[in-house]
């Protein structure tokens, strides 16, 4: 398990990194924590000629409060995110998601930007950032742009990022009083990637579900929102029966994968089960004592 030969560069700023990626085109790949890319290279499934290591760019390692949003630098590791007090206070579901990724070694090295840009169909963050309606900030030769995550994931291991764009930041909402979120996953027993993972973010008002967002990862080739479930529950008063009924359509429209970790049929069934549980947990945390 030895990679093909490659060159290795360490740009000293985001601007320099973007400029190099632009010059390299297909020949270059961004290296952040390396926990997805390096194993692929060792299996020779990825054979980049030049690795542009952004891992030392301190400017991408911060968590900031920015108005009604949190701005999370692309190089924030899963472990850092899981332990961050600001994230815990304002967007706990994201910290909880980070805490269940892989194992301690993975969490200490892997970064949120790397995980999102890699777009593994069984990764954990996608469900949560979809449910949060987060935004990704990308920097390219022409400057920065903001991409809603709903438009970010475009298929198996593919995103809306251009080859010369660098994901620099994730922007997530601060969840105020009356809001709550939960991410629940079924890890596969080998790698602990999600066979199915469901995130739910809910806001209650006047005893009703004012807003609900549900993200699903692992089940299909790309993460998706379970909009049918959201629509069925928005405006309703929360009850276990209503949630259970709505969750039955959680896998609707998902072309579920089949592999050694689960058949399509099982993934669909577990999507329904985990959607129900995640929604119940999110609504419970949003302040509904009955759930």
């Amino acid at each position: 398990m030895i990679a093909t030969a490659f060159e290795y560069e360490t740009p000293s700023s985001v601007d320099e990194a973007v400029a190099r990626l632009s010059e390299l085109g297909d020949r270059g790949r961004v290296l952040a924590g390396g926990h997805s890319l390096i194993p692929l290279m060792k299996l020779r499934l990825a054979q980049p000629e030049v690795l542009v290591d952004i891992g030392r760019l301190g400017e991408l390692r911060a968590v900031r409060e920015d108005g009604d949003r949190l701005a999370i630098g692309a190089l924030v590791t899963h472990a850092q995110l899981a332990a961050d007090a600001t994230v815990d206070r304002h967007c706990r579901v994201l910290a909880e998601t980070a805490a269940v990724i892989g194992d301690p070694q993975v969490r200490n090295r892997g970064t949120i930007g790397g995980a999102l840009a890699h777009a593994d169909p069984a990764a954990d963050y996608p469900a949560t950032v979809l449910a949060l309606e987060a935004e990704v900030v990308a920097q390219g030769p022409g400057g920065r742009r903001t991409i809603p995550v709903a438009e970010f994931f475009s298929g198996l291991f593919s995103t809306a990022l251009a080859p010369d764009e660098l994901l620099v930041e994730l922007r997530v909402p601060r969840l105020g009083p009356g809001s709550g979120g939960a991410y629940l996953k079924r890890p596969n027993k080998a790698s602990h990637y999600a066979v199915v993972g469901v995130a739910a973010v809910a806001r209650l008002a006047g005893g009703r579900i004012e807003r609900l967002r549900v993200g699903v990862t692992g089940a299909g080739a790309q993460p998706v929102r379970a909009t049918a479930v959201e629509q069925a529950l928005e405006g309703e008063s929360p009850s276990a029966a209503a949630i259970a009924r709505a969750a039955e359509s959680a896998a609707a429209g998902i072309d579920c994968l089949s592999d050694v970790h689960g058949s399509a049929e099982y993934r669909a069934a577990m999507t329904r089960v985990y959607a129900r549980r995640a929604i119940q947990a999110a609504i419970g945390r949003a302040g509904s004592p009955s759930l």
Binding site: K189, H261, M270
Partner: protein
Amino acid sequence: MAVMRMVGARVKRVEDPRLITGQSTYVDDIRMVDMLYGVVVRSPIAHGWIRGIDAARARAAPGVVAVYTAQDLHFDGPLPNAWTLAGVHTSRHDPLCKDKVRMVGDPVAFVVAESRYAARDAADLVDVDYEDLPAVVDVERALQPGAATIWDNAPNNEAFRTEVGDKAATDAAFQRAARTVSLRLVNQRLIPNPMETRGVVARWERGPQQLTVWSSSQIPHLLRTNLAAMLDLPEHRVRVIVPEVGGGFGCKLNIYAEEALTARAATLLHRPVKWIEDRRESFAATTHGRGQVDYVELALDAESKIVGLRTRIVADLGAYAQINTEAIPTLSNLVLSGCYDIPALHSELIAVYTTLPPTDAYRGAGRPEGVHLVERIVDVAAREAGIDPAEFRRRNFIPKDRFPYTSQAGVDYDSGDYEAALDRALEMADYPALRAEQRRVNAGGERLMGIGISSYIELSGFNPSGSGGGIGWESSTVRFEPSGKVTVLTGVSPHGQGQETTFAQIVSDELGVPFEDIVVVHGDTATVQYGMGTYGSRGTAVGGAALMRATDRVRAKAKRIAAHLLEASPEDVVYDGGRLHVGGLPDRAVTIQEVAKTAYLQVDRLPQEIEPGLEATAAFDPTNFTWPFGTHIAVVEIERETGDVELKRMVAVDDCGRIISPLLVAGQVHGGLTQGIGQALFEGAQFDENGQPLTGTLMDYALPLASGLPRFELDHTETPTPVNPLGAKGVGEAGTIGATPAVCNAVVDALAHLGVRDVEMPITAERVWRILQEAERVAVSPGASGARPGVEGGTGR
């Protein structure tokens, strides 16, 4: 001075400080000036003809020193097969494939270069022209007409058939039976996954004409003998060194192509060559374990006494017969009576080639498979007879006054008290309370609780030489140094078992020297006398017995020397701890250290008839296997909605005979239970219809993790074996033998009310979920009242 007895004391392993502080030397830690690196080019297809190999581009690549194909290398004979049975269609297994590949990962070329990186890059440049043949993946379909032929001399891919027991008597017993039960069981392929993969370094020294091979192996001397023969070198010019080994579990009890290739390359190139297996190769090119489809039937009389057992074992050998490949399933046959007094049994074993990696020893090696089918059918029989599974076992156990017991499988059990182990396990589990809790949990509806018992036997202490190719004995040397320190040279080759500790405990007691004054040396054919290595729970039971003999001889000589120094006759000298004194006169004494010093450095004080030196070498060849036993109890809870199986408790009462080192025994049981539970719940090598691995890395092959296991609850009964002077039976494999059926029985216990009789391993959540879905479907469909779904749970993944 009171001397504490070391045998039986809770001694910490002397091996651990160097292991946990990273101060051990493994094969890959060996570096040499001028060292070259080898990489094996492997077949990407499971079955096909080699139409041509073009290595020109690889040979021209930067840093490449040589590229060898089968045409380029000469070996005096194929890779060895130690257990060739009469009538076996032996597959000739050359280190490199010449005309045909028979599995994904089959070696076709060996690239040697100045660096590991250059070798790996060049391996991609070797162009091999393959003509595909159909893969043969399913062991039962391999036997059917239409399956591709893997070996011309094995029609229908059948390697051999063998049987044990009395067919006529067994058939008669089934005819008379009040009740019969039957099951089909799949004992899935497992991938051994030692933490350290295999690795070899070979150095040829032209001056002394000496080949030195460092290999991560369980069998240094057997490797030397076989390598010398394959390479046509005089055996005394070949030295094998086994440095620290990071686990073997049986998969390093073999002679592999890479050992021969690396050594041959070193002799041709006159430079050291290193080959290190990567994890993907470890999945594809190291032997697998298990791999059987088993049909088992049990016949009972009206009192639910077992009157007959009938089995048909279809064993998946894989593509080649490695060193013990054929022997492993034959061991299943030998344990088929289990703990039970079975008056008639018959088993037919059909061994089959497939285009998958060879199977061979994996912790338990044939015995887990045999015990599994007995313990599964016994459980089903108890349920269908309406008898508690503990009571059913008790009713059928071989009583403790019947030992030695000759089973109808043709083997002699040495000693046993099966009921004592069962009783202790039931007591630890608080069995009646568990059953009450089960009724409570199951009434709740969301979770299903199951309790599984398995009472196992194993045959261990490999092996009486008469029963295994004449090579089951073991050796030991005990040497006092002039300072009174002791060096032990043992022919076993511990790689995690901890004999550096247990053997020092034994010697400390036997010779009365401090534990710290003893060092145990192993794994170097230049310093250690011939021995067989470590496998089959033999290290202490056979190697320790040889050690006892050697200490007897050293003690006898020490007495002769002391007698002379004390002016007494040897018969009057008492060896008491580290002091030798005249009987009845404790003050007329010398210490063993004084005796040792005299033996080497003051021989002028000794008469001519006493040779200088104080050491002895002894060998031990057991007259029988040893037969450890025990009872394991597993408790599981199943979540209905997801099928998740949670192992809540694991109680293990093991009887490994006399216990030398309680902490090491516990460690062995912990590891064994973990691997046994791994087979039941997590592990399983899967292949697609083309023979391509679907679980080819640790991203897809699930090993058990500590986080998924309960706290193990352990105890022991101690029934010494008469087979060796230590009374020790061996404990390395017990966990993998008892735990697997206990866990399976627990899962089936939780689902039995739905008509479930078996769930195929590994028992994944999805398999359980499918059974529960099917049961629900049947329950709600009209006209299904009273009908049991009768699912075997073999569907799905």
